[in-house]
C-alpha cells in the first residue's frame, strides 16, 4: 500500500455478497470510495444509481440533490467538492451532452469528481433503454479546449463496484474529472458482487494542503504536477475560475500563463499514462490477431475469440479497462508483432480509430461496428477475426 492511500470509511461499505445490477454496484462503489454528495437529474438507464444513492446516503451522512437539469447537476457537484466532499453525478447520453461545459470547467479548475455515463443508443434521445458505446469520443473530446480526462470502462457489476472506487481514487490523485463509461447492459445486468470489508478497500484521500494560510498557493505545484487543495470556509484565500489563471488562482490571460497551465493539465495525466492505463490481456504472445474491446462488448467478443481459437487461429485479447488515456504504447508494441487488430464496439467506429492511429500502419485494423440497441452476435465478430487472420501485413 502506498503511503498516500487510506482505508475506506466502514459506514459507507456494504460488506457482503450481493446479487445486484451494475447501477447499484456503481452506487455502492461510490459510497465505499467516500462519496457523500451526488447531484443528478434522472435519465434511463442510469437512474438506479442515484435512486439507490438517495436512499443510502442519509444513513452514512451525506446529501443527494435532484437538480432541475444536468447543467445544474454537473456544476453543483463541483461546489460540493470545493466544500470538502467527494462528489459525483450520473447520467446517460443526452444528459452527458448537457454536462460537457462543466466537464471542461472541472478540468480547468482541477476539481476532482466523477461523471458516470451509462451509455444508451444515440444521437439525441435515441434508444433510452438500449445499449451503445457511442459516447467514447465525447468523453474524451466533448468539451472545448485542450484538456485530458481519465475514462474507465467496466464490463460487469463487480467491476462497476471495483472501478468506481478506482475512478474516485484517480480523480483525487490527479485532480481531474473521471468519466465512468458504463453501458446499458452492464448497468442493468444483475450478477454476484462481492463487497470486501472496509479495511481491504484503499481510498485516495483529498490532496489537502498542509501549508499555512500565508504560504498556500491554490495552483502552486511545488515542482510536481498536481496542486494541493484547500476547501471553502477554512480561512484560505482562494479563487476558482474557468478563466486562465496563475498559481494564486487569479485570472491571468496571457499566452505564457495559458501555455504553462494547459500543458500542465495535459502532462499531469500523460506523464502517468502507463500507470493509469489498465487493461486485461490474454494470449498476446504469438498472436496473429488481437481483439481490442471494452465494456459489455468484451464479453461478447470473448465468445468469438474462444471459437476462433478452437478452429486453430492464434487470437489474443486486449480488454481496455482504461479507455482514456488511450494505451497507445501497448498498441504500438503489439502492432510490431501481430498481423492485425479487430475492434468490435457498439458504435460506428470510435476507439478503433485510436487503435489504427497507434498501430501507425504496422498492423491492419478491422472494425466490427454496431449502431447500438443490442450487442454483437459473436459470429459477426468471429467472421472478422477470420478475415483479419488471413490479411497480409501492411
Amino acid at each position: 500500500m502506498k503511503a498516500d492511500h487510506c482505508k475506506a470509511d466502514p459506514r459507507g461499505v456494504l460488506t457482503g455478497t450481493h446479487f445486484i445490477d451494475g447501477d447499484h454496484a456503481c452506487c455502492e462503489g461510490a459510497l465505499a470510495a467516500g462519496a457523500r454528495f451526488a447531484a443528478g437529474y434522472p435519465i434511463t438507464p442510469s437512474t438506479e444509481v442515484v435512486e439507490r444513492f438517495a436512499s443510502r446516503v442519509p444513513t452514512v451522512g451525506g446529501t443527494f440533490i435532484q437538480m432541475e437539469d444536468e447543467l445544474a447537476a454537473s456544476i453543483t457537484l463541483q461546489g460540493a467538492v470545493w466544500g470538502g466532499a467527494k462528489a459525483f453525478t450520473v447520467t446517460s447520453g443526452p444528459g452527458f451532452s448537457l454536462m460537457m461545459e462543466h466537464i471542461g470547467y472541472a478540468a480547468m479548475t482541477e476539481t476532482p469528481c466523477v461523471f458516470v455515463d451509462v451509455q444508451r443508443g444515440g444521437p439525441s434521445t435515441g434508444l433510452p433503454t438500449l445499449p451503445a458505446q457511442a459516447d467514447m469520443m465525447q468523453a474524451r473530446w466533448g468539451s472545448h479546449g485542450d484538456y485530458e480526462i481519465i475514462a474507465l470502462c467496466p464490463n460487469s457489476p463487480q467491476e462497476c463496484f471495483d472501478l468506481t472506487i478506482k475512478a474516485f481514487n484517480f480523480a483525487e490523485e490527479f485532480r481531474v474529472p473521471v468519466m465512468f463509461m458504463m453501458d446499458e447492459v452492464v448497468g442493468h445486468m444483475t450478477e454476484k458482487v462481492v463487497i470486501p470489508p472496509a479495511d481491504q478497500i484503499e481510498v485516495f484521500p483529498r490532496k489537502h494542503t498542509h501549508k499555512s494560510v500565508e504560504d498556500y498557493l491554490p495552483y502552486g505545484t511545488n515542482g510536481g504536477q498536481v496542486p494541493e487543495m484547500a476547501h471553502a470556509g477554512e480561512g484560505y484565500n482562494f479563487h476558482v475560475t474557468g478563466l486562465t489563471h496563475d498559481e494564486r488562482g487569479y485570472p491571468n490571460m496571457t499566452p505564457p500563463v495559458q501555455d504553462k497551465l494547459v500543458r500542465r493539465l495535459q502532462n499531469k495525466i500523460r506523464a502517468a499514462a502507463d500507470r493509469i492505463s489498465l487493461f486485461e490481456e490474454e494470449q498476446l504472445e504469438g498472436a496473429d490477431v488481437v481483439v481490442v474491446s471494452y465494456g459489455i462488448t468484451s464479453r461478447v467478443a470473448q465468445r468469438a475469440i474462444e471459437a476462433a481459437r478452437k478452429s486453430g487461429l492464434r487470437v489474443g485479447k486486449l480488454r481496455l479497462i482504461t479507455a482514456w488515456p488511450f494505451p497507445e504504447k501497448k498498441i504500438r508494441e503489439l502492432a510490431a508483432k501481430v498481423k492485425s487488430f479487430v475492434v468490435p464496439e457498439l458504435n460506428l467506429g470510435q476507439m478503433v480509430r485510436e487503435v489504427e492511429r497507434a498501430a501507425a500502419g504496422k498492423a491492419r485494423t478491422f472494425a466490427v461496428s454496431h449502431a447500438g440497441g443490442g450487442v454483437h452476435r459473436p459470429e459477426d465478430i468471429l467472421k472478422v477475426i477470420v478475415e483479419a487472420s488471413r490479411c497480409q501485413t501492411a
Binding site: F19, V185, H188, M189, T190, E191, K192, V375
Partner: protein, 200 residues
C-alpha cells in the same frame, strides 16, 4: 452445471423479475455457480409485459442474453405466445396453469411441460403476491437444476421480513407440487392437469 439459459416471463406485478433474482442468487451465492440476469419491461409498473433472462453456468457467463432457452417459465398467455416459440428442442416449459393455455403446436419439439396453478395456491395461502415463491419452488422441484436448500436461502434473504414465513411456505408448496407433478405420467400438453385442477 452446464450453461443453462432460462427465460421467466409474465406481466408486471407477478414477481417475474424477483423470480429470476431468486434463482440467480441461489445459483451464484449459495451454490457456487455463475449467474447473469437481465430484464426487459414496458413503461407500465403493473400489467405490462415483463420478462427476465437468466444464464447459469459453472464457468463465468460471457454472453449475457438468452438465445435459445433450455427452460422457460411463463405466467401469462401473452408471454407464452411471444416467447414459447424460442424454446429449445427438448426444453422444459413451466406454466401458470390458470393463465396459460398450452397449444399442441409445441409438442413436435419434444418439450416437457409442467403446469401449476401458482396464483391460486398463493391465494389459498393468503396472498396472491407470493405466487413467485410458489413458482420458484415448483421450478426447483421439476428442473433439478438447483439445490432446494440454496433456493430456500435465496428466498429467505430476498423477501421483506414481514412476509418471510409466508414466502417460505409458498416455496415449500411449490416444491411439493413439483414433486407430485414429477410422479404423474409425462404430458406434453397440460390438458389433463387443466381438468384435474379446474376451479369448477
Amino acid at each position: 452445471m452446464q450453461l443453462t439459459e432460462i427465460r421467466v416471463a409474465g406481466f408486471g406485478g407477478q414477481g417475474v423479475i424477483l423470480s429470476a433474482i431468486l434463482l440467480g442468487k441461489a445459483a451464484s451465492i449459495y451454490q457456487g455457480a455463475y449467474a447473469t440476469m437481465t430484464q426487459n419491461f414496458g413503461p407500465e409498473a403493473r400489467g405490462g409485459a415483463c420478462s427476465a433472462q437468466l444464464v447459469l453456468s459453472d464457468s463465468p457467463v460471457l454472453y449475457p442474453y438468452v438465445t435459445k432457452p433450455d427452460i422457460m417459465v411463463v405466467m401469462s398467455q401473452e408471454a407464452y405466445v411471444r416467447f414459447a416459440p424460442e424454446l429449445k428442442d427438448g426444453g422444459t416449459l413451466i406454466v401458470e396453469q390458470d393463465l396459460v393455455r398450452v397449444s399442441d403446436t409445441n409438442t413436435n419439439k419434444n418439450i416437457q411441460v409442467y403446469s401449476i396453478p401458482a396464483t391460486r395456491i398463493a391465494e389459498e395461502l393468503g396472498k396472491r403476491m407470493v405466487l413467485n415463491s410458489v413458482m420458484v419452488g415448483f421450478f426447483t422441484a421439476v428442473t433439478h437444476l438447483l439445490d432446494a436448500d440454496a433456493v430456500r436461502k435465496a428466498v429467505a434473504d430476498s423477501v421483506p421480513k414481514s412476509f418471510l414465513d409466508l414466502n417460505l411456505k409458498a416455496f415449500e408448496r411449490g416444491l411439493e407440487f413439483g414433486a407430485i407433478a414429477l410422479t404423474a405420467p409425462p404430458s406434453t400438453t397440460d390438458a389433463e392437469l387443466q381438468l384435474e385442477y379446474s376451479p369448477e
